[in-house]
Structures are given as C-alpha cells and as structure tokens.
C-alpha cells in the first residue's frame, strides 16, 4: 500500500515528453506542404499515450512529432531554394535573351 502511494506521484510529477505541437501548427500554417499535419497527429499521440501510462510510446511519438515538424520545415526551405534558383535562372535566361535581342537589333 505504501509502495503504491509512493509510486503514483512519482510518475505524475514527471513532465510528459515535448509534443512539439506549436511547431506542428507553425509549419502547417506557414510552410506550404501538409507534412505538418502528420506532426500534429504525433503530438496527439504523445498526449494520449502519456495519459494512458504508455511512457515509452509517448517518447517515440514525441520523436516522430519533432521529425515531421522538421520535415515540413525542410520541405518548405527546399521549395524556397528551388524557387530562388528558378528565379535566378529565369533572370539570367531573361538577361541572355535580352542580350541576344540587342545583338540582333
């Protein structure tokens, strides 16, 4: 009996692992790719698993939530860089065409 009473508060005093929900929201609304949604689902798992007493499962979901928030951010960053390259390429190509135009005139 005494042991049980001691064990219970020990567990509830521990903080649950980070669910990265804020970052999931941020990357879903600010980055264009829907990977952030996956991160939100994992964030939900962190909370449910932790409250159900599945602490290891909560930790795994926490890692996945973090991973997918980064994937979402990374995909947005990659898209941005790709776009920048296209713009630079387009500007350069445009300049090249412009130069040709001026040559032929």
């Amino acid at each position: 009996m005494n042991e049980q009473q001691e064990q219970q508060p020990q567990v509830s005093q521990q903080a649950p692992p980070s669910n990265y929900l804020v970052w999931a929201i941020l990357t879903t609304i600010l980055c264009c790719l829907p990977f952030g949604i996956v991160s939100i689902v994992y964030a939900a798992q962190v909370n449910t698993k932790w409250q159900a007493g599945d602490y290891d499962g909560a930790k795994i979901s926490s890692k996945n939530a973090k991973l997918w928030a980064w994937v979402s951010f990374g995909a947005a960053l990659a898209g941005m860089l790709l776009w920048l390259l296209l713009v630079i390429f387009g500007v350069v190509a445009g300049l090249g065409l412009g130069a040709l135009d001026s040559l032929s005139v």
């Binding site: 649950p16 669910n19 929900l21 804020v22 999931a24 929201i25 941020l26 879903t28 609304i29 600010l30 980055c31 264009c32 790719l33 829907p34 952030g36 949604i37 939100i40 689902v41 964030a43 939900a44 962190v46 909370n47 449910t48 409250q51 995909a75 898209g79 941005m80 790709l82 776009w83 920048l84 713009v87 387009g90």
Partner: protein, 132 residues
C-alpha cells in the same frame, strides 16, 4: 558559436521581415509559390500566409484574415506557448499549458483539416476562406 548562430538567425528574420514589408508577395515573382498548390491546383492550409505576413506588417488585419483565416490563431498559439510560463512565474498566474491537454492536438487537427477542405469549395460562403 551559439551566440553567432542566434545573431545570424535574428538578422535573417529581420531581413525577411524587411523583404515582406517592402514587397507584396501577391505581386512579385521572387516569393515562392506553394508547392502543393502548384502541383495539385488546390489550396493547402498554409496558402496565403506570405501575403498575410505582408498584411500583418502593414497592420492590415482584414487583409491577414482574408488571406488565411488561421494565420492569426497560429501566431496567438505560439505567443501563448512562450508567454504562459512567463506570466505564471512573474504574476503567479496559473495558466495551464493547453497544448498538453489530451484533446488539444485532435481539435487543432480537426480545425485545420476542415479549413483545408472548405477553402477549396468554390461557392459562397466557403470561397471567402480561399486566399485572395
């Protein structure tokens, strides 16, 4: 090293803010278009956020809301995340960390998915949700 990284990050954010303040993402080609929209032709939950940032920096709240209804709530959620431990400590408030309640992620998930579907419906009143 960490200080340098933080300084660089701050500088990057300031530069981006200046760019988003000076140029309207709806009118200039240098702002990347949403990949999801480019591929599928459908709006994603984040479409309109770049224009929303531009509008927010110009304090045009109507513009923010009309470009992305969830943009302001998302900003407020992040503000809450960082402010609530501060307020609890400084003012002895007892604000809960709402992001760790059991149903919060599912409610947010539901809101975003419903928003995602409805903003792609092309008739009134749902067409209001599409970025303009």
């Amino acid at each position: 090293m960490k200080k340098l990284l933080k300084g660089g990050l701050l500088l990057g954010i300031l530069a981006a803010a200046a760019l988003f303040f000076l140029l309207d993402p709806g009118k200039h080609e240098i702002f990347p278009r949403c990949i999801f929209y480019s591929i599928s032709g459908y709006y994603c939950p984040g479409c309109g956020s770049q224009r929303a940032i531009h509008n927010l920096l110009h304090l045009n709240l109507a513009g923010v809301v009309s470009n992305n209804l969830l943009f302001l709530p998302a900003i407020l959620a992040i503000a809450y995340h960082y402010l609530h431990p501060l307020l609890n400590r400084k003012l002895n408030w007892k604000l809960p960390n709402i992001f760790y309640l059991k149903n919060t992620p599912w409610i947010i998930f539901g809101i975003i998915v419903v928003f995602w579907v409805l903003r792609n419906v092309s008739f009134y009143p749902f067409c209001v949700l599409a970025p303009n």
